[in-house]
Symmetry: C2
Subunit: 77 residues, 2 copies
DNA sequence: TATATTATAGGCATATTTGCCTATTTTTAA
DNA sequence: TTAAAAATAGGCAAATATGCCTATAATATA
């Protein structure tokens, strides 16, 4: 499998996040509140619109209690 | 162990990156060239000055061939 | 269906990152 | 110890992310 370009990566990352968030029973709003960022940002991250910070990713993985690796897994869905 | 605040996290992340980069025999310049960003940014990331993007982190882990998890490992050194 | 909840869309001002640059300091190797 | 290589420091403009906001669309539930 070819490497993904940055845009493709961000979309894959967003899909992984959405899947993880739902599997943990969080709404975007709950996740945003837990880590202290805007709900609109969660929406944009999940849709691959923005390239968020490593700090936010760390906070997200802690809040959801998912492995970082799971969010970076570049599996085609 | 307590959770790290964002500043502490960025410093730990930077240390992990530096360790990984050196263990793979890369200079900051080589790494920067490989992923297409500025060497000054690598320096700032390693020193915990900036909160770089998830896209850059992905590119770094690919260039160095290290697991994402390794960069996020919050071990005290 | 209709009502509430959840998610998307986008504008705008502010904050932060990034690239480009020069200079200086630190580390490595001869 | 000296020279070369590597890393740090910081200024500045441009690009991008973020917070705050309102409105709309989509989804779930009564």
């Amino acid at each position: 499998m070819e490497y993904l370009n940055e845009k493709e990566f961000l979309i894959a990352f967003g899909k992984n996040l959405r899947k993880a968030r739902k599997s943990k029973g969080f709404t975007q709003s709950q996740l945003a509140n837990d880590i202290g960022i805007e709900i609109s940002q969660i929406s944009r991250i999940e849709r691959g619109i923005i390239n968020t910070s490593v700090g936010n990713v760390n906070a997200i993985s802690r809040a959801l209690r998912v492995d970082i690796q799971e969010l970076f897994n570049l599996i085609k869905n």
